[in-house]
Amino acid sequence: MLDPRAFRRFQKNRGAVFGAGLVVLLVLFAVIGPMVSGHDPNLSDFTGGRDPSGSIAGPGGRHLLGVDPLLRDSFSRLAHGARISLLVAFFATTLSIVVGAAVGLASGYAEGTRAQSLDTVLMRAVDVGLSFPYLLLVMAIGAAVGETTIVTILMVLGLTSWFGTARIIRSKTIQVRHLDFIMASRALGQSTPAILLRHILPNVAGPLIVIASASVAQMIIAESVLSYLQVGLPPPTATWGRMLLEGQRFYTVAPRLVLAPGVLIFLAVLGFNLLGEGLRDALDPHED
């Protein structure tokens, strides 16, 4: 499915390798961070959380990155935040890609055939979906569901973000559909689902991977925006957006409370964006 030349092109692209490195570091931080921090992210440290002058402990010493105003270990909270960000972003992207690819494949394969009406209906649905004020909708659902959990957040994010993917995959499917080997397998009597899955899907996998990588970046931002606007996961769960919001009031005394989650969000998004662009250039080389 993937060309070995693509891998070589990817390796030569410094930006892409840097992005991949950032992503790997981030995943390591999310997986190992909470284990090595040695502190509960939601537990206030009343004994060691203050420095000799009585203000909250800064970086170094007992708490690697200091504590927040509620005397909770910042490193541990950041690492748990990374876990939530990545979990939500990964599963929401998977959901969005699966739905988007299914709709795009069906719609593109039906276009111009007897099943044209299927294409029309699906694409009109996509038009409607793209006209939704998406963040607003996510917030409204999140608020109305009441108890917001990781599952509701990733469902809402995943199910409201597949419209663009469907459009792109539809146009790729239309391009691939008329190639000779598709005609051949149809002439040989292969069923439509088999053709879609075995022959067309691998040919649109390149764009899908690229979209997925960019989508993870978008989802990380979306999750942190929801948390920042207080409609994401409820406290005391450590999320980057929430930490940023809580740190804001203390910006003048402890800028690290805002900068640490902010910079992490930035690096995570940058990493996935670079990775996505590197993948795009590697999988779909355009001649200069």
């Binding site: 409607v128 004020p133 109305a144 970046a217 920042y228 606007l229 902010g262 969000i265």
Partner: protein
């Protein structure tokens, strides 16, 4: 041509209707009792029930939907004139806010100018920076300037608006004291002054996208025959760029400006929250936190209409600009 436009207009109306309907049902079938929210957590069940009847929330959801939709375009006769929007013969009535006890149309009308002010300034910043940086990068292809610009745009795209917003606020307002920290201001001069930082926050983000688009578009266009002809005529390079290439690069960019409306909306919510800007973004965040259904519906209707109208205008401009589409 007319048939094409008519069809597009019908689909636009259908899209708005679908968005409104979906939002209504999503909001109304979810387990959330606005009456309980209005009455407060301590209220007696009898009071909650009374409020529920007053607001008509005891009716089944399809009845409420029918009433909402018919009120939308045909307000009951007792509705005051300042509570509706008049679009020619049509009077748009969006109902009354549960908590603010004011017509939603009035709330939206009050919140719209601040948002438009910031949105317009942001668009100016976005297009100015984007066009200039994109053209420069395309001209110095594979040079330091090009790689620097592309790198910076990646940073711009990856930086979440709440981080840039907070940093700009800290640096320009708190440290340098060049701009107010937040808020709206009384006079127009004050308003323009305090609009700058939120606009810059949104504009920088948009500029990052826009720069890449202009750059890619220019790189393709600079390879065209007519550019070579212009150069061969001995025309100065900047004239070639501005008169021949940039002009043509602007056409696909119409789409982007239209499509970025949706993005601006999302960014506006966060930016308005950071700078305590009394616009549509703040109104909608408040409405969602307070579970104020009519206001949420009003904002959704307004936003989706703007997005659909922008798309319609983009298609229209294509039809006018591109003779191939005119024929369809």
């Amino acid at each position: 041509m007319l048939a094409y436009l008519g069809r597009r207009l019908l689909w636009s109306l259908f899209t708005v209707w679908a968005v409104v309907t979906l939002t209504f049902f999503i909001y109304n079938v979810l387990p959330e009792d606005p009456a309980r929210v209005i009455a407060g957590p301590q209220a007696r069940p009898a009071d909650v029930a009374r409020i529920r009847t007053q607001l008509g929330l005891d009716q089944p959801v399809h009845v409420r939907y029918g009433r909402y939709m018919s009120n939308l375009v045909r307000p009951p006769p007792e509705t005051k004139d300042d509570a509706v929007w008049k679009l020619g013969p049509v009077r748009i009535d969006l109902g009354v806010s549960y908590l603010k006890r004011k017509p939603v149309t009035q709330l939206l009308a009050k919140a719209l100018p601040p948002t438009l002010l910031v949105g317009f300034l942001a668009l100016v910043i976005e297009v100015a920076i984007g066009a200039a940086a994109g053209v420069l990068a395309a001209m110095k292809r594979h040079g330091v300037l090009d790689y620097g610009t592309v790198g910076l745009t990646l940073v711009g795209i990856s930086a979440p608006t709440f981080l840039t917003g907070l940093l700009l606020q800290h640096f320009f307002a708190r440290e340098l004291k060049l701009f107010p920290l937040d808020g709206y201001g009384q006079t127009s001069a004050e308003q323009l002054h305090s609009a700058f930082l939120p606009a810059l926050t949104l504009g920088l983000y948009g500029a990052a996208y826009y720069t890449r688009l202009v750059r890619d578009e220019m790189i393709t266009l600079l390879k065209e025959d007519y550019i070579r002809t212009a150069r061969a005529k001995g025309q100065r390079e900047w004239l070639v760029i501005v008169r021949h290439a940039l002009r043509n690069a602007l056409m696909p960019l119409v789409t982007v400006v239209g499509l970025s409306m949706g993005g601006l909306v999302g960014g506006a919510i966060v930016t308005e929250k950071i700078f305590r800007w009394p616009g549509i973004g703040s109104l909608s965040v408040d409405a969602i936190v307070e579970r104020d259904g009519p206001v949420i519906m009003g904002v959704v209707i307004l936003f989706s209409t703007v997005v659909v109208a922008a798309n319609f205008l983009v298609d229209l401009s294509y039809a006018v600009l591109d003779p191939r589409i005119r024929k369809r």
